[in-house]
């Protein structure tokens, strides 16, 4: 069972080289871009709907 070593690994590596290697998450990046696009579409569609109602201050 490799658990012991792996756990030890995590602890030993603390401070050694964390954060300095780039992580690659291209799939997530594409997903978040889709989120941003849907966000913008929904948001501006609502401004458009608002512009169609009576004027009020």
């Amino acid at each position: 069972m490799a658990k012991q070593e792996k756990a030890a690994d995590v602890i030993d590596n603390e401070g050694a080289h964390k954060g300095d290697q780039m992580h690659a998450a291209p799939g997530t990046f594409v997903l978040t871009l889709i989120l941003l696009l849907s966000f913008a579409v929904y948001y501006f569609a609502n401004w458009k709907a608002l512009a169609d109602v009576w004027q009020v201050r």
Partner: protein, 177 residues
């Protein structure tokens, strides 16, 4: 990289890199757009909720509504007076369990200062079918400077729970060409 369940040795603060950095930049940019949108609309847009309001005693407001009805009444529908305020002038509507009073008759394209208040509980002022919604509180004269841009008959419904007859609380605005 640590597990989110593990404590972390000092000096872990590092600038983001790669796609993470790119995403934070994009998200920040989007937040700037969101931030600018509301002030922009406040000055350039035609639909704003500025919250203009005054404190008012319910009895005094009711008396003012009665005076408004008597001097501007033009008809009656379902036992409720139809009242036509002068274009550009003040109009009053009171909410009370479970009616809106009176019916307002407005002219399309004219601007009115509509005063809303309640004699008892909180109510909602929701104009159908254009779906504009405002809050009415007892003790507060909520002033909406409104310009109807479409003509027709517009039911007003209450959309704030105000007791068991809440779903029967309706009123009306008539907009003439």
């Amino acid at each position: 990289m640590e597990s989110p369940l593990a404590s972390v040795a000092p000096n872990w603060l590092k600038a983001p890199t790669g796609t993470e950095r790119a995403w934070i930049g994009l998200a920040l940019l989007w937040c700037v757009v969101l931030t600018l949108a509301m002030p922009y609309w406040h000055f350039k847009g035609k639909q704003n909720s500025t919250g203009e309001a005054y404190t008012v005693e319910p009895a005094k407001f009711a008396a003012r509504v009665q005076q408004f009805v008597e001097s501007n009444k033009v008809g009656e529908q379902n036992g409720v007076p139809i009242v036509e305020p002068a274009p550009g002038g003040d109009a009053y509507m009171q909410a009370q369990m479970w009616t809106f009073y009176p019916i307002l008759q407005l002219k399309k394209g004219q601007t009115y200062r509509i005063h809303l208040s309640s004699l008892d509980l909180q109510h909602g002022w929701s104009v159908m079918p254009i779906n504009m919604n405002f809050q009415i509180l007892p003790g507060y004269d909520h002033v909406l400077t409104i310009t109807p841009t479409t003509a027709g008959e517009f039911p007003v419904i209450c959309n704030e729970f105000c007791g068991i007859g809440h779903h029967q609380m309706t009123g009306k605005i008539i907009v003439t060409e």
